[in-house]
């Protein structure tokens, strides 16, 4: 059992957990952040995606001991039901989802994309999301939502 200090969504949190614990269980069960969805535990579906120092990372397999001093960003950091982030608002405007289980990971990945490339082409969005599985078939709406977000977020 290690005593770890993690920076999650801008706040320093102390966690007692073995260093080999996957980050997702710490988020879910120690920090009360269940927004990063558990999908496969195999780095195959992308629903658990979080950002570590701005880079997309599978929280289902990333061991928490490797994250001391790194900035972890989860879907909860973006916005809330009452006050959604412009990226989330674009998803709401496009009704870009069905079951919604994939969306935390997809929105986090889209955030990383737009942070590094504020005006991505359709092909760049597709490439960024291609490792994410949406089983309901909301793909077209999701692509439209990211394009809409790129437009609205670039406005001064």
């Amino acid at each position: 059992m290690a005593d770890l200090e993690l920076t999650v969504n801008g706040t320093k949190r102390r966690v007692a957990a073995p260093e080999t614990t996957p980050l997702i269980y710490v988020l879910h069960n120690e920090l009360g952040l269940t927004g990063s969805r558990y999908g496969c535990g195999l780095e195959q579906c992308g629903s658990c995606m979080v950002l570590v120092d701005g880079e997309p990372v599978y929280s289902c397999s990333r061991e928490v001991g490797t994250l001391a001093g790194r900035a972890i960003t989860t879907i909860e950091a973006l916005g809330s039901v009452e006050k959604p982030h412009p990226l989330q608002q674009a998803f709401i405007d496009e009704q870009a989802g069905q079951c919604g289980y994939c969306l935390s990971g997809i929105i986090i990945r889209a955030k990383a994309l737009l942070d590094s490339n504020p005006q991505p082409s359709r092909a760049e969005i597709v490439a960024a999301l291609d490792r994410h599985i949406c089983r309901c078939g909301a793909h077209q709406r999701i692509l439209h939502a990211v394009e809409r977000a790129a437009k609205t977020m670039s406005k001064p």
Binding site: A17, P18, T21, P22, Y25, H28, N29, G32, L33, T34, G35, S36, R37, Y38, G39, C40, G41, L42, Q44, C45, S47, T74, I75, E76, L78, G79, S80, V81, P84, H85, Q88, F91, I92, Q95, G97, Q98, C99, G100, Y101, C102, L103, S104, I107, V126, A127, L129, D130, H132, I133, C134, R135, C136, G137, A138, H139, Q140, R141, I142, L143
Partner: protein, 703 residues
């Protein structure tokens, strides 16, 4: 004359099961229909708000609750609007009418001088002192629903027909705790299950010490006969235990499957229960054409593994589940545990997309077994990804042979659809089927008896086996295979995707034989179905059918049409493909007729989703069997369509508001598979008869 009450109202005539006016000025509408990613709860609220004349924000929905809500069995078969919505509408109309009757007497005025505005009763347009909440205690809530109050005419709808945004999506887009997976209760324990490999397999030995070592911290091992679970406060530890466990467990009586059993054609020589529907035996008149089509097994492949929470406290079992039917779940868990259903409550919570009977119910049963062993602690059971792929019921492989006798003009005068398939409905409690873990308990329930969805409910394997076209004589020969290698049950469309793929494929080939354009050939057989005729014509316009090129160019355009179950929504789909060794679906056009549309954007979302899922079925998906069961247990071995592979989709809803609402969630599945099959045939100049249309099959067709 009144139509018979919808089934839901006949089964739940008590008004308080449906509607209550709450002290906070809202009205609570209860439904047995549950949100499974299709937006149903929002649509039902629209219906209620319109009928009651209240704004949408006054409507609170309670969905899937055995304690207070109605029993509507399963949310399945595209019936939630047709039956569930019709029930909510009648209930609301009746409540409104009863209150108006009461108030007319109280105010000594004519009833037609009264109206409702934002829940307040008005007299000749002027607000009275009365509203629903004030009048509610005065009406007889014990009188059963009569269904006699006429719902509003279409012209009076305000919210129906509007694309109201879904209530649940903002939570899902902001990571709010809305899924059952997110439920965290005080004292909760995490649990994983070591699955019995198959019915009849018995656990010979379990090296508990080795599993505890792998877990790394304290876990409890729950064993009930051949049911084994790992339970503890530390989720990481129970997960490590379940990953290690198969290497430390020895089973007897494990099945040994052969990879050839993965194919639809394997079913032809198996023991079956044979039925026949429709016209008598074919008269051997006219030219005969025969073709055989097949498909392998499909997985639901819901994005999340199944999850459930159960707690056994003071003799009462409470379950939170993402299953499709909370009332059946209660009954089935009680039966399997041999306890009184009155001592069980089941509450629905959201889960990952559900396209039919997946692992949800079985997972809830697992949680319930453990909760009984460890009372007073909520038990959160989560399946592994591998177990969701390995043990959820699959959509049966199928083989379909079509035999047509043609008239002088080359049109079928007689058609036989002969089907070999496992069942498409093996839900717990239906036809004697049980929950998975019940088979591991000391007293397993009797084995399942051959059963498939009956024809009057749209059939299972036979779903859409009757063509939409006017054909003088048609019959179905149904071979329900009774000794299946794996458990099979309902997946979106049931038998429809294979049957429509086969029928629409044959129609294209018959059109070619007759020297006719496939569109014109179809339209000639749809003269007596104006809705289908209009829909197909419009779809052909959208895809510029008239500019369709010659066959065999590597680029193809195909079209298909169907009416789900032959009684629900219509859809026509056109697909554009590019084929080298792979098939790439580049564009899809779709028209749909769902009668009166409650939420147009909600339906479009369902049409688009169905199209993408069916494209995935057609091109990529097949469960691989072998060894002790399912071999394809992750997303690499069971690939589904990705962002880089989805077509550009254009959908159009036909205005058919004068017709009753038709369930639309499954209507695109068959026509999409059919259209892609025809587009690939057009691109290659040769037909691929077996699904999925993989690279190997394309190469074989070209050889």
């Amino acid at each position: 004359m009144n139509a018979p009450l919808p089934l839901s109202l006949r089964e739940n005539p008590q008004l308080t099961r449906w509607i209550r006016f709450l002290d906070d000025g809202t009205v609570r509408i209860a439904t047995g229909r549950v949100e499974i990613g299709q937006g149903i709860v929002t649509a039902l609220a629209q219906i209620a708000a319109d009928e009651l004349d209240v704004p949408l924000d006054r409507v609170k929905m309670l969905s899937g609750d055995t304690d207070e809500g109605p029993n509507e069995l399963y949310t399945s078969s595209s019936l939630s609007i047709e039956v569930g919505g019709a029930s909510v509408r009648l209930v609301c109309a009746e409540i409104r009418a009863r209150m108006l009757d009461f108030l007319a007497l109280r105010l000594n005025c004519a009833r037609d001088e009264l109206d409702v505005s934002d829940g307040v009763f008005t007299h000749n347009g002027v607000a009275t002192d009365y509203d629903y909440w004030k009048v509610a205690p005065s009406i007889d809530w014990n009188a059963p629903v009569s269904g006699m109050a006429a719902p509003k005419p279409v012209s009076a709808h305000r919210l129906i027909g509007q694309s109201v945004p879904r209530f649940d999506l903002p939570a899902k887009m902001t990571g709010a705790p809305i899924f059952v997976h997110d439920l965290r209760l005080p004292g909760m324990l995490h649990a994983r299950v070591l699955r019995q490999p198959n019915r009849g397999a018995s656990l010979v030995s379990l090296n508990e010490a080795a599993i505890r070592r792998a877990a790394g911290s304290d876990i409890r091992i729950v064993r009930v006969h051949h049911f084994v679970a790992f339970v503890g406060e530390d989720e990481t530890a129970v997960q490590r235990a379940v990953v290690a466990a198969p290497d430390h467990a020895r089973w007897d009586g494990v099945r040994d499957l052969d990879p050839t059993q993965s194919e639809g054609k394997w079913l032809r020589d198996q023991q079956s229960d044979d039925r026949r529907y429709g016209a008598p035996e074919a008269k051997a008149e006219g030219r005969k054409v025969e073709a055989t089509f097949s498909r392998g097994y499909l997985s639901h492949a819901s994005l999340a593994p199944s999850c459930a929470v159960a707690e056994f406290k003071d003799g009462h079992l409470t379950i939170w589940s993402h299953g499709q039917g909370m009332h059946p779940l209660r009954t089935n868990v009680a039966l399997a545990l041999d306890i009184d259903p009155e001592t069980v409550s089941a509450h629905h919570m959201h889960g990952a997309g559900c396209y039919g009977h997946n692992g949800a119910d079985d997972c809830a049963m697992d949680a319930a077994i453990i909760a009984r062993e460890i009372p007073n602690r909520p038990i959160r059971m989560l399946w592994t990804r591998q177990d969701e792929f390995g043990f959820e019921p699959l959509s049966s492989a199928m083989m379909v042979t079509l035999q047509a006798h043609l008239d002088d003009k080359g049109y079928p005068r007689d058609l036989t659809t002969e089907i070999w398939s496992g069942t498409h409905v093996q839900r717990p409690g239906v036809g004697g089927a049980t929950l998975l873990a019940a088979e591991a308990l000391p007293k397993p329930l009797p084995p399942w008896a051959p059963f498939d969805a009956p024809e009057e409910r749209g059939g299972g394997a036979t779903r859409n086996a009757v063509p939409i076209y006017a054909i003088a004589a048609h019959r179905i020969l149904h071979h329900l295979v009774t000794t299946m290698p794996v458990r099979t049950s309902a997946l979106r469309g049931l038998g429809a995707p294979v049957n429509v793929f086969a029928i629409e494929g044959l129609m294209d080939d018959l059109a070619a034989n007759a020297g006719e354009d496939p569109l014109a050939y179809r339209l000639a057989m749809l003269q007596s179905d104006p809705r289908a005729h209009r829909l197909l014509t419009r779809c052909a316009d959208m895809c510029s059918w008239s500019g369709r090129g010659a066959a065999g160019s590597g680029k193809g355009l195909g079209i298909a049409v169907g009416r789900y179950k032959n009684i629900s929504a219509y859809a026509a789909v056109a697909a554009e493909v590019e084929v080298d060794e792979h098939v790439r679906v580049t564009r899809i056009w779709c028209t749909a007729d769902a009668g009166l549309v409650i939420n147009p954007d909600g339906i479009r979302n369902q049409l688009e989703g169905g199209i993408i899922q069916a494209t995935s079925f057609a091109l990529k998906e097949q469960v691989r069997l072998g060894g002790d069961g399912v071999r394809s247990r992750d997303w690499d071995s069971y690939p589904v369509l990705r962002f880089s592979e989805v077509p550009e989709i254009a959908c159009e809803l036909m205005d058919a508001r004068e017709h009753p609402s038709l369930g639309a969630g499954e209507c695109t599945i068959g026509p999409t598979v059919g259209a892609i099959g025809n587009a690939v045939a057009h691109a290659l100049g040769k037909r691929v008869h077996d699904l999925p249309m993989t690279r190997e099959r394309i190469i074989a067709a070209l050889a």
